[in-house]
């Protein structure tokens, strides 16, 4: 089998996705030796944009069959790198929720760049107030974008971080010559074994200032659904997959409610609207929802989901 060339980039990201790639585990070594030829991947490979001695004028990335991009798009450089990746790669994978839906960094879309800089360089507690930096650094875009707002994305692997099962699954599918690989379009609940009975009495939502009820000696399928225990759990509006092919949801395994790190159940779904509607249907007063956007759009702030409030 000939090796498949791969280019990887990270944009407005945290490296969690790259660590998740490493967490594919022992098979990774074999893949690296036998199947994958990384032609560009800043986290482990010293391939430079402007030639190895930094003298070329235009940013360039080598051609590859598969391009993997993590992180959203927040500044001009991210945009340039993304466009270059799209140009050079046959199949572009958006890896991680930042790439697919903006992820947590897209929470900044609730603020303007001006507000952010004012806060960061002038109002911060320990900072000597100063003018905003501008030299030799790429300007910020007006907001944080998901990749598919700027380029065509061929394959989506959301997750914060994505579970190695899906990364390995996608890589293996591509190695077999497939060009499609789709995550299941179900919600976290599909993989959640907790007991569900009734959502009655969900008039109030508890914050995580109190603990759910569970017997630590007993498995998850003997714990009552956290939403039914009154904790806001984003499971119903979040894409399934955080536990891998067959595992239980990871946060639920730690006995804490889901916060939506796999992004919407399917492309175009709006967790914020979907969930407010659903909660209102079971008798929850939407006005009593604290920090609605911070809970329900925490990972899906791109695609116009989070907008700056109109200030009057």
């Amino acid at each position: 089998m000939t090796k498949v060339t791969v280019a990887e980039e990270w944009l407005n990201a945290c490296a969690g996705c790259e660590i998740a790639i490493l967490n594919v585990g022992d098979v990774l070594v074999d893949l690296l030796v036998n199947n994958l030829d990384f032609v560009h991947i800043p986290v482990i490979l010293d391939k430079k944009y402007f030639g190895q001695t930094g003298e070329e004028e235009h940013l360039s990335i080598p051609e590859a069959v598969v391009g993997i991009v993590s992180g959203g798009v927040r500044n001009e450089e991210h945009k340039e790198v993304l466009l270059e990746m799209r140009k050079k790669c046959q199949i572009l994978i958006a890896l991680g929720t930042c790439a697919t839906d903006g992820g947590i960094p897209a929470m900044i879309n609730m603020y303007s760049d001006e507000e952010l800089k004012q806060f960061y360089y002038k109002d911060s507690l320990t900072t000597d107030p100063a003018e905003y930096p501008t030299e030799h650094i790429p300007p910020l875009l007006d907001q944080c974008y998901a990749l598919d707002e700027l380029v065509k994305v061929d394959l989506y692997l959301p997750g914060c971080p994505p579970h190695p099962d899906w990364i390995a699954g996608a890589v293996l599918a591509l190695l077999e010559g497939k060009t499609e690989y789709r995550m299941p379009e179900k919600s976290v609940c599909d993989s959640c074994p907790t007991i569900r009975e009734s959502k009655k009495g969900l008039a109030d939502i508890k914050r995580m200032l109190s603990a759910p009820e569970f017997d630590p000696e007993k498995p998850l399928d003997e714990m009552r659904c956290l939403l039914e225990q009154g904790f806001l759990c984003l499971g119903p509006v979040t894409g399934v997959g955080c536990g891998g092919h067959k595992g239980a949801p990871r946060c639920i395994s730690a006995r804490v409610p889901c916060r939506g790190c796999y992004g919407p159940v399917r492309k175009g779904a709006k967790p914020l609207v979907d969930y407010m509607g659903a909660l209102a249907s079971v008798g929850f007063d939407p006005n009593k929802m604290p920090d609605r956007r911070g809970y329900l759009a925490r990972f899906s702030g791109a695609h116009g989901t989070l907008k700056r409030p109109v200030r009057r």
């Binding site: 569900r196 009655k200 939403l227 067959k246 779904a269 079971v282």
Partner: protein, 954 residues
């Protein structure tokens, strides 16, 4: 299909007997051909003759060509011969001044009017087994009462007129104005008991039962029909809000600032400048005479029988009571003196809507028992060709654009619309029809479907609410699934309402057709659903209501199981001596029990309880426990008659002094120790003990009548004995008012109290002391009676188990909830379940029996068929469902359950919907955050596609 309407008809005679009557009916001609009339209103629009509109109480005008009101059934116009210019001037064969007008005939687009015909009344002979009389009531006409000045002052109106003034399709389009000057009234007064509880002039001694409630309703909704603040005052004698949830409404009205003034106004004076009125009354608190002006005065008129109803009774030989209502008895509430002739509704006496609806079902049950052997012999059913398989085919949409004569084409350029429709995706043929709904068009439609191999049809015409069924039949005739059909409502919701903007109307019509085509393209054939009906019944509760239900069901021919938790049948009835009419209950009860226990179709289980329930309408499966043993039962419907009890009071020394009784206890005391009555020092009745209190805010309905009954009995046994009734409002509704009158005449003393000033009961030595504040003397009265009778509340049986088993509803007071308070008072919200008796609300024996028989009638609508077809518009679970279970509780019908399944060793969950329980409301669809459940024909994708199509040009 199985109801024949004979409109404009009256009964002229009857012969034969129960099971085989021959009824002679005279039917007047409506002049307009019903088959051709499309209710386009053109005849009325063009008719030059204006006459007072009786539906609007003569407050405005209609035409001689008319329908009575928008919801008329059948929705067909008629020409009133008596006022029509053509006929008044002699019609088509008048000698002098032959009728000339003919405007309606000229303009009718369908040729439904042909004035050259011979319009004679038709005499029909109808052969029937039973007859039910429901001629309704006539509002009391106050013209004769000069005290109310109804005929003198314009701003004195009857409550019926006021109702029309408020109505959005009434004479002032729902914006309240007063007749005198067209100004909006700011101060409005209601005078209660006009034509009721009055034997001075009109001889209507009875209480009309409904007027208090409608006056309160009118006062409450007035704000919605006026602009600023209004002041409302209701002048009353007793407020009689004895219906379910009524008292709460009364309290709400008080909170909303409606003034309730206890005073019978004797004279109405003119207001200033001929507008409004002035009334005079005593202020209760100060005792002063007050003069107050009002902009409008509403007379809360009572209900009485019309002369024609009285005549009808004469024709049929039906006996009327002294108030000219059809005579009835407590044990056979719908029967008349003539076997096989039944009555219901206000023909029997004043009633509110739920009671009338209940009584109607009761009459239907009674009327059908004797006919049960002939059930189904005259019904008709249609047959259709086999359905063509279209799943997987590309949509081939045919669009039929209706001109509706000029109703649509007069505003919308239909040719343009046809051309536009041709350009839409998936559309393979477009046609314009003059009348899409006409019978010949149906034939054409069927041909076109076959000729063009259409698999979806869009008709751009009127409203699907009236015409979808017709076109669906045509679809079936053409061998297509009836759900592959969609309408664009370009008449009712376009040409008729945008008549002056033809361009914009055409734009809108294009959008409407586009939206319909898009949706039609996405429609899928739907399975025809049905459930096999287990034609047997379960009755829960062996009290009076339960036994009447069981007997009724068994008499209709259905196997019936009767569950009773106690060791004998009868329930509360054992404690009752007589009905308010004085009929002895015990003999009736004993006879009833024996008939139930010996009926070959009734299986009685005593000491029995319901344990589980599975299944739904038509096919319930339960486990019951009888004498500790478990047993499985199956049934198609259930009637719940779980009853209620007399509340045990916590106050007035009840349980601490043996002279303090509840009503039922006192009944027993009187029958067992009758001689002691002679020596009794006196009796006090306290009303509303445990009723109309904050934690039980309803009227128990039966206690006032019971008190009258007992008080009369005491007075008759010992006329010298002082008898006092301490009350809040006396609620002897209907003809029970006679008892109240009799009690007063016998010298029973009535003292009113209010909730803030309740009677106090104490002991002084051996004496029982009752202190009350006299509302006339404003002084405390001390009474030392031998008996203190507490008119204690009726409380419902605990229903928690039942609610859990059937997911049925309870109101906040613990009574079982009916499906609709007014229109479906016997059905429960769960399909296939019915209720009767005290579990629904406190009520006297006659009303219990009526409701129990009504339940039989309602149940028969299901049990009479072995297969019950279901509408196909139901929810279905998509592959997106992953069992988060949020929708489970939101389903108002309890149709959603959760189930587990296994994929590669991993457990997953999803919901299941019960087709029999689902009503297709789609609340689940709107609840689901992941498109896991949709309603057929209204899926999220289909609705989204419509939204997109609607906004395509934005």
């Amino acid at each position: 299909m199985n109801i024949e309407l004979l409109t404009l008809a009256e009964v002229e005679g009857i012969s034969g007997r129960e099971g085989n009557f021959n009824v002679k009916v005279r039917q007047k001609s409506r002049i307009i051909d019903m088959d051709k009339c499309i209710a386009c209103n053109l005849c009325a629009e063009k008719c030059p003759k204006k006459v007072p509109d009786e539906f609007n109480e003569g407050l405005d005008k209609r035409k001689s060509a008319y329908i009575k009101y928008g919801q008329t059934v059948p929705l067909k116009y008629a020409i009133e011969k008596e006022t029509c210019i053509f006929f008044v001037k002699g019609g088509n064969k008048g000698k002098k001044g032959k009728g000339k007008c003919r405007a309606c005939e000229k303009y009718c687009p369908t040729g439904a009017i042909d004035l050259d015909q011979d319009f004679q009344d038709e005499i029909k002979e109808i052969s029937v087994g039973s007859v039910i009389l429901t001629p309704g009531f006539k509002p009391f006409d106050p013209s004769a009462f000069d005290t109310y000045a109804y005929t003198q002052f314009k701003d004195v109106v009857t409550s019926m007129e006021y109702e029309r003034l408020l109505s959005s399709n009434g004479p002032c389009m729902g914006h309240l104005t007063r007749p005198s000057d067209g100004q909006e009234p700011k101060k409005i007064a209601w005078l209660q008991c006009v034509g009721s509880r009055n034997i001075n002039k009109c001889d209507n001694g009875y209480c009309s039962s409904v007027c208090c409630m409608y006056a309160i309703k009118q006062s409450m909704v007035t704000a919605e029909h006026t602009t600023g603040d209004t002041d409302q005052a209701i002048f009353y004698m007793d407020i009689r809000t004895h219906g379910k949830e009524f008292d709460k409404y009364f309290e709400q009205a008080k909170e909303n600032g409606v003034r309730f003034v206890q005073s019978r106004i004797h004279t109405v004076y003119p207001g200033q400048d001929g507008c409004g009125v002035k009334v005079e009354y005593f202020n209760d608190q100060t005792g002063e005479r007050v003069k107050e002006e009002f902009d409008l005065l509403v007379l809360s008129v009572g209900l009485e029988n019309s002369k024609s109803s009285v005549d009808l009774a004469e024709v049929l030989g039906v006996e009327l009571d002294k108030y000219k209502f059809a005579e009835s008895s407590s044990f056979a509430p719908s029967a008349t003196n003539v076997p096989g002739i039944y009555a219901s509704g206000c023909y029997q006496g004043p009633k509110d809507i739920p009671q009338s609806v209940t009584d109607a079902s009761c009459a239907a049950a009674s009327a059908s028992i004797s006919l049960s052997s002939q059930r189904g012999t005259l019904t008709q059913e249609r047959t259709f060709p086999p359905e063509k398989e279209v799943a997987g085919e590309e949509p081939r949409v045919g669009v039929f654009v209706c001109s509706c004569g000029i109703n649509i084409a007069g505003t919308i350029d239909v040719n343009e619309l046809v051309e536009y429709s041709k350009s839409l995706p998936n559309v393979v043929m477009v046609e314009n029809n003059l009348f899409s709904c006409s019978q010949d068009t149906q034939v054409m439609l069927k041909d076109k479907i076959q000729e063009h191999n259409l698999n979806r049809v869009v008709v751009a015409a009127c409203t699907p609410r009236t015409h979808e069924p017709l076109f669906r039949e045509t679809m079936k005739d053409a061998g297509l699934n009836e759900y592959l059909f969609e309408m664009a409502n370009i008449r009712n919701q376009n040409s008729w309402v945008h008549g002056k903007e033809p361009e914009k109307a055409l734009d809108k019509a294009r959008d409407q057709v586009r939206m319909a085509v898009v949706k039609a393209s996405m429609l899928q054939p739907l399975e025809h659903l049905s459930v096999n009906v287990n034609q047997s019944a379960l009755v829960v509760g062996g009290g009076l209501s339960g036994m009447v239900s069981a007997l009724g069901l068994a008499d209709q021919g259905y196997e019936t199981i009767l569950l009773e938790k106690a060791d004998k049948l009868g329930g509360n009835a054992w404690n009752l001596a007589s009905t308010w009419r004085g009929e002895q209950i015990k003999p009736y009860l004993e006879d009833l029990i024996s008939r139930v226990e010996n009926h070959s179709s009734i299986k009685v289980y005593k000491n029995a309880q319901l344990k589980t329930n599975k299944g739904a309408v038509g096919d319930f499966v339960s486990e019951i426990e009888v004498n500790g043993e478990k047993k499985a039962i199956k049934y198609g419907i259930a009637v719940v008659c779980t009853g209620g009890q007399e509340h045990k009071p916590q106050e007035y020394l009840y349980g601490q002094d043996e002279r303090v009784f509840t009503h039922l206890e006192f009944d027993r005391e009187m029958s067992e120790h009758a001689p002691a009555l002679d020596k009794a020092k006196g009796a006090v009745f306290i009303q509303c003990v445990g009723s109309r209190e904050p934690d039980r805010p309803y009227c128990s309905r039966v206690c006032c009548t019971h008190t009258m009954h007992s008080a009369i009995k005491l007075k008759k046994a010992n006329p010298k004995m002082p008898v006092y009734v301490l009350y809040r409002d006396i609620r002897t509704y209907g003809a029970r008012e006679d008892l109240y009158k009799e009690a007063r005449e016998l010298g029973v003393v009535f003292i009113q109290y209010d909730l803030d000033n309740k009677p106090r009961v104490s002991k002084d030595g051996d004496d029982l002391v009752v202190m009350a504040r006299d509302h006339i003397l404003y002084r405390d009265v001390e009474i030392r009676p031998s008996y203190l009778v507490l008119a204690s509340a009726v409380v419902p049986t605990e229903h928690k188990n039942l609610v859990e088993l059937y997911k049925c509803g309870l109101n906040s007071e613990g009574f079982l909830q009916e499906a609709h308070a007014k229109l479906r008072p016997v059905d429960m919200s769960v399909d296939g379940m019915f209720l009767a008796g005290l579990c629904h609300y406190p009520k006297p024996v006659d009303e219990c029996i009526a409701q129990a028989q009504a339940a039989v009638s309602r149940a028969s609508t299901i049990l009479s068929r072995s297969v019950m077809p279901l509408d196909s518009i139901k929810s279905f679970v998509t592959e997106n469902c992953d069992g988060c279970a949020i929708c489970v509780d939101t389903c108002p019908y309890g149709a959603i359950g959760l189930t587990d399944y296994d994929v590669e060793g991993v457990q997953h969950k999803k919901i299941e919907t019960n087709k029999a329980l689902c009503k297709g409301c789609g609340i689940c669809e709107a609840t689901c955050p992941k498109q896991g459940v949709f309603v057929h024909g209204f899926t999220n994708e289909q609705l989204r596609a419509q939204v997109h199509a609607a906004l395509e040009n934005v």
